[in-house]
Amino acid sequence: MKVTVKYFGLVAEAADKSEEVMELKGQLTASDLKAQCLNGLSIADKDSVQIAVNQNLDDKINLKDGDEVALLPPFAGG
């Protein structure tokens, strides 16, 4: 299955991209995909990054073909 992953804030920066289409094999939850996407990226606090699937915050949902996933770190600036 193919899913589109959108990166925000320092995740986009660490990944050096704002969007990619990923080809996934087998059954994956949103949080599995998050772990896979963040793996190897230099982000100090990976737990703080939230995941949305089809514009809904949810890390437990099983992914399906065509899903759009967003990885959101918290921002502090003002």
Binding site: G9, S18, S48, N56, A76
Partner: protein
């Protein structure tokens, strides 16, 4: 003709709406890049009372985005200067300035005196504090945060809606300020103005309030997206049950055998643990310099490396210290782990 004629003409406002605005009280926590434009529009719209809270002073590097301030304001307290300028903008508005940080001690008392809270802060600790205090006082708050060219916007705790902890349950110490990352002045301008719009809709009881959703804006890409938030009742219950506790975000410093001097204010986070970490805020150095060892190397730090550099100059020139080393990049560069 009324100064509010152009907005009273709107069916969403009308004379009744204008009266609602006149009776409303809004607290702006953090009068910076977000708080300045938000304050100017709320004052323009005739909100009856505005609280302005900021413990910081105006710096020349603020002026590109904190549009209330002028060159002659540099060095003066933001809350006070903002009040003076805004009083000239609209003499019908009542102002209260707070030249102090929001803390776990004063949060509930101050927040309970207002109808809506606008978050113009630049750190996670205060955002969680606003969230928890608003939850306990049953007040809606309008959140915004920025990172480089991106912004996040939402309204929390509105009519029993989701809270900040429903999006980000855990506090993080990854505070990354505009000072560290850089920002174009218009971005907080956009977000702060959107925050003011949410405040006005909440007061007027019109339109669709951005509750239960978080808006993500990328100014460079001219794109935006809205993501739905679900309530996490366990997070809300926990705060209701335990109340506000001071948020101390612990950290360990590398090279624990060294002496460290932390010249930040006592409320600044994270708080390093260790017996050889002295905490003396910059302004207290002249009265407490005797506490600093002068016979061995001491690493001096603050959030960014700027205040610690000043501290070393003061200690060297006025009190003859020659054993101090500046931590150039601030505390984040010496945290272990």
């Amino acid at each position: 003709m009324s100064r509010y004629d152009r907005q009273i003409k709107l069916k969403e406002v009308g004379p009744e709406g204008q009266e609602k605005l006149r009776n409303a009280k809004v607290l702006i926590v953090g009068v910076g890049g977000l708080g300045c434009p938000a304050a100017m529009y709320l004052v323009g719209a005739g909100v009856g009372k505005i609280g302005l809270m900021d413990h910081d002073k105006v710096d020349i590097s603020n002026l590109h985005r904190q549009v209330l301030f002028q060159e002659s304001d540099v060095g003066k307290p933001k809350a006070l200067v903002a009040k003076e300028h805004l009083e000239k903008q609209n003499s019908e508005v009542q102002f209260e300035s707070y030249e102090e940080p929001l803390t776990s001690d004063n949060a509930q008392k101050i927040i309970s005196q207002y109808d809506v809270i606008l978050d113009g802060t630049d750190n996670f600790e205060t955002k969680y504090l606003i969230n928890d205090a608003c939850l306990l006082a049953d007040k809606p708050w309008v959140f915004a945060s920025i990172y480089k060219n991106e912004g996040q916007l939402s309204v929390f705790n509105y009519k029993d809606g989701p809270t900040y902890r429903c999006v980000f349950p855990k506090s993080t110490r990854q505070n990354i300020s505009c000072e560290a990352t850089g920002v174009l002045g218009v971005l907080p301008g956009i977000l702060g103005t959107l925050q003011a719009a949410e405040v006005l809709k909440i007061i007027l009881g019109v339109g669709e309030v951005l509750s239960g959703k978080i808006k993500l804006i990328n100014m460079m890409r001219a794109s935006e997206q809205t993501i739905k938030i679900n309530k996490r009742p366990e997070e809300i219950e926990k705060i209701r049950k335990e109340g506000i506790s001071p948020v101390y975000i612990d950290c360990d410093l590398k090279y624990a055998e060294h002496w460290y001097l932390d010249v930040r204010e006592v409320f600044e986070q994270p708080k390093p643990k260790g017996k050889k970490v002295l905490s003396i805020p910059l302004n207290d150095l002249t009265s407490r310099y005797q506490e600093i060892p002068n016979n061995q190397e001491v690493f001096v730090f603050c959030q960014s490396g700027k205040r610690s550099k000043n501290a070393i100059e003061i200690l060297k020139n006025e009190f003859g210290f020659h054993n101090l080393k500046n931590v150039e990049g601030g505390i984040e560069t010496i945290i272990d782990g």
